[in-house]
């Protein structure tokens, strides 16, 4: 008897240690990746000035000296920002609306049909989505807004929104469904209408989950590579004629640049290092996004408990 308890304790401590190791392992892994990317990227500044990396307005890595090469962070950063922001603006209202509809409004039969179909969207490979974008969305955007070419940040945003929507819908729906039924009953009992109940009771209660869903959606959008390479045109331009002009013209994203050039670059040369520095910047952005999301989640969570 005593022995079996001791054996149980021993087994438990082994399992505990294993769990602790796997928990720490993911942190170590992320750190190792970051250190590796940084180590490959930083030597860039031995042959290319840090200030130029931050201020150069062009990206032309094969331009011969003395004019080039140009390794400008700005056009890449701007492109990533514009395409992602556009995708968020397009995707969030649609996706959160769809989630509310699924969780609160749709009858059971409709919900059972809609949810799997929306989740199916997430399984479409990104090359296929990029192909559809290049063949169908580019000409559509061009004709709709009377542009010279449909290859634009806008087309990229539309395709990325399309890719982020399933993630946001599914996780928001889970968050909404997790709100206890008593909340809804309570608000109805107090004489609130169904809409008042959704907007003032259920929705705020599911808030942190919905924010997490949106953050994951943004994460998917900013990291996407194949689609943006195929539909945004990849011209590294900085805006000079206003936001709408920039949005309806070609941009070059960080992921697009890395995706198009990383496999073909000479190992260890300045171009190779510059691509890794872009990787460092991308890493810092996603890290900051996650950190902010975490902060928001915690604060909201604590307030809801009080």
């Amino acid at each position: 008897m005593k022995r079996s308890i001791r054996r149980g304790e021993r087994a438990e401590s082994v399992i505990e240690a294993a769990i602790r190791v796997s928990g720490v392992a993911s942190i170590v892994l992320v750190l190792l990746i970051f250190v590796f990317v940084l180590r490959e990227g930083l030597p860039l500044f031995r042959e290319y000035s840090f200030v130029k990396f931050l201020t150069e307005r062009g990206w032309q890595p094969t331009l011969s000296p003395p004019t080039g090469p140009w390794f400008g962070l700005l056009p890449n950063l701007w492109g990533s920002f514009l395409v992602t922001a556009g995708a968020v603006v397009l995707a969030v209202p649609l996706a959160v609306g769809a989630a509310v509809c699924l969780a609160e409004v749709a009858p059971r039969g409709l919900r059972d049909l809609l949810k799997p179909s929306i989740e199916l969207l997430a399984t479409v490979p990104s090359v296929a989505i990029g192909f559809v974008g290049a063949a169908a969305i580019n000409p559509l955007v061009k004709d709709l807004f009377n542009l010279d070419t449909g290859k634009s940040a806008l087309a990229g945003s539309i395709m990325l929104a399309f890719m982020a929507i399933p993630t946001i819908v599914t996780i928001s729906d889970d968050a909404l469904s997790a709100v206890p039924k008593t909340f809804r009953d309570g608000s109805l009992a107090l004489g609130a209408t169904k809409w008042q109940g959704i907007s003032r009771v259920v929705f705020p209660a599911a808030g942190p989950g919905i924010i997490a869903a949106i953050m994951l959606g943004i994460g998917r959008a900013i990291g996407e590579t194949m689609v943006v390479i195929m539909v945004t045109g990849n011209a590294g331009v900085l805006p000079d004629k206003g936001l709408w002009h920039a949005f309806t013209h070609s941009v070059r994203t960080i992921t697009g640049t890395i995706g198009a050039e990383a496999l073909e670059v000479g190992y260890g040369d300045a171009h190779y290092r510059a691509l890794f520095m872009l990787g460092v910047v991308l890493f810092l952005i996603t890290f900051a996004l996650n950190f902010v999301a975490d902060l928001a989640l915690n604060r909201r969570g604590r307030r809801a408990l009080q």
């Binding site: 094969t62 004019t67 070419t149 198009a260 073909e264």
Partner: protein, 290 residues
């Protein structure tokens, strides 16, 4: 990139079939160990389809030889040649002085062979009334000095610039032969990941312009006649005009070896430059060597 790896898989699969097919009929490879002899061909993306077509025919003729073809770009190929990563390097540009120098330092005597020729067509939307440009006009268009078709006698329509990605040999060739060394592209030049994307974009956009290999022109776009300068005649991009040297945007395609080729590599180079290899060059819309 994915298309490339699919093509690579296809080659690997054919290679596997060939391998399985001749495993029973053990051939004597001379003084060798009896193993299948292999040849690795690597480099230019422009040449990858051509090299694969060569490899298929060559392996049919020589079932005891296994040829592996991969792309990656001319730069990748030349780097691989220096590091003993390939037997034959495909390159759509001539090797640079610096590269030759660093090869010499490593004790590698790089040998150059012209195996085919390539010509770039400048394409526009089929509705565009422009039918010819001088190289100087082309340069002004791609550096952003000219931004409207009306400046070269066309309609009042903004020009939409298309180019290949910076890693492409075609990009480097165009930059050096049209813009000039060290002259940047206009910053609103769109860099397309594949030639097919350039054709697609130019076919969609009325103001579009792009450059593609001679073999990639389809009837959805219009190919322009080019003039070396104002005085010279406008020349259509055809095989004859590349061969007689009249077409201004043509280039040789190379294969390089580290040291004088011997054995399988020698066999390959002789065959590729012979009548059978050059027939395949024509079939894939490249231009044969004289």
């Amino acid at each position: 990139m994915r298309a490339k790896s699919i093509r690579f898989l296809a080659v690997a699969a054919t290679a596997a079939v060939v391998l399985a097919g001749c495993s029973s009929s053990k051939q004597d490879g001379g003084a060798g160990s009896g193993d299948k002899r292999t040849l690795i061909v690597k480099g230019s993306d422009t040449m990858v389809q051509l090299a694969q077509a060569w490899a298929e025919e060559f392996m049919k003729k020589h079932p005891d030889i296994m040829v592996t073809v991969t792309g990656g770009g001319s730069n990748t190929g030349i780097a691989a040649l220096m590091n003993n990563g390939t037997d034959i390097c495909n390159s759509s540009r001539a090797i640079k002085e610096e590269e030759l120098a660093s090869a010499k330092q490593k004790g590698i005597d790089v040998q150059e062979f012209v195996v085919a020729q390539d010509a770039l067509s400048v394409v526009v939307h089929p509705d565009n009334p422009i039918s010819e440009l001088t190289l100087a006009q082309l340069k002004d268009i791609y550096t952003g000095k000219i931004t409207n078709w009306s400046a070269v006698g066309g309609p009042d329509q903004r020009i939409v610039l298309n180019s290949r990605e910076t890693s492409s040999g075609t990009y480097v060739f165009f930059q050096e032969h049209v813009l000039g060394k060290g002259v940047p592209f206009a910053d609103n030049t769109m860099l397309q990941p594949a030639t097919s994307q350039i054709v697609q974009t130019v076919a969609q956009d009325k103001g579009g312009i792009g450059y593609v290999g001679l073999g990639y022109v389809t009837d959805k776009v219009k190919s322009l006649r080019l003039k070396k300068d104002d005085a010279s005649p406008a020349v259509e991009g055809t095989i004859e005009n590349v061969l007689n040297g009249a077409y201004p945007l043509a280039r040789p395609l190379y294969e390089y070896t580290a040291g004088a080729p011997s054995g399988v590599a020698q066999q390959w180079l002789d065959w590729v430059r012979g009548p059978e290899g050059q027939e395949i060059v024509k079939r894939l819309d490249f231009v044969p060597i004289k």
